[in-house]
Subunit: 215 residues, 2 copies
Amino acid sequence: MLKLYTYFRSSASYRVRIALNLKGLAWDAVPVHLLKDGGQQHVPDFAALNPNELVPVLSDGDATLVQSLAIIEYLDECHPQPPLLPADPLGRARVRALAQTIACEVHPLNNLRVLRYLERQLDIDADGRSAWYRHWVERGFSAVERMLAESPDTGRFCHGDTPSLADCCLLPQVFNAERFRVPLSAYPTIRRIVEQCRQLEPFQSAAPEAQPDAE
Amino acid sequence: MLKLYTYFRSSASYRVRIALNLKGLAWDAVPVHLLKDGGQQHVPDFAALNPNELVPVLSDGDATLVQSLAIIEYLDECHPQPPLLPADPLGRARVRALAQTIACEVHPLNNLRVLRYLERQLDIDADGRSAWYRHWVERGFSAVERMLAESPDTGRFCHGDTPSLADCCLLPQVFNAERFRVPLSAYPTIRRIVEQCRQLEPFQSAAPEAQPDAE
């Protein structure tokens, strides 16, 4: 049985939950509360599992997997249907580039530990932290919007008419941006695709509010 | 002919240069100076090529590829020898997780545009910026060190006895950390592997000081 160490609001966990659901795999959620007990991701048992002290972590039998994009590619290789990457190398590179624009250029700057460092070590107030958050979302989403709007490969979803690794990353980042009240009117293609995702059950049941640990 | 838009000191460009050299591919460097002219990555012609306004960008005939890890996987798919990822899904997931720990947890926090934001928007002084830089390197390298030291899959290189995508990411991040004078004594496995990398010609000729735009 697949076990996913997850936090309902973690957008990296959300990506993997979508992928598991798109594959139709059965999985158990093991909630890791990022705020309780000084952060359950720092508890020794969990740190032994993932030296990064981050969620998500996937257990597959004896194997332990970390890093959301690596986990999703693993699932795609072990359970090829439906594919989350296209078959051609250029298409695969495009989907990975979209995913990495979110996972490398936006999310790392805006996750809990970074916002905490700004607050606690650098004494940046709430307005300053919001401006920081918005800045990196806007930089990243402007790039993603152009990559989507200018390419004939964009379909109902980020790449063609079926969800891919890129869509697994896009919806969680939009959820996160909405939570921080970042205006999204400048990104019509992103918004259109996210609306498509939200109509599909695998995305719906991966949503933060649908998780057993939702608050 | 492959064309790589690159900046000698950019560690994401450095990763792709290593991969191109490991594959034995011929490529032309197109230097993009990140500091001159207000940053040549922001010039309209370049922004049209990469909406992220970041290096590296790879041109392969009519195709334009962005995001260093996506580019390296593309090269690995189009030019399979020597492989930069192992054959088994678990090994592939491990190599990708190591690469992503650097590319998602360390580098995005410490690149030029983030250090500039700290300086210009948040008025963080040089000591504060150094502490920030060191903090994220130490968090990331502590995780990578444990992932390497605790796994029987680690060999002369990050995964077995031949270089992989993980090594393409590790050496540039160590180069970067050394430039910022981050002490590395706590990471003996990382240092041992990086010494191995530095003995190989494909890594040597990818080094910042070996580039045509080196200063």
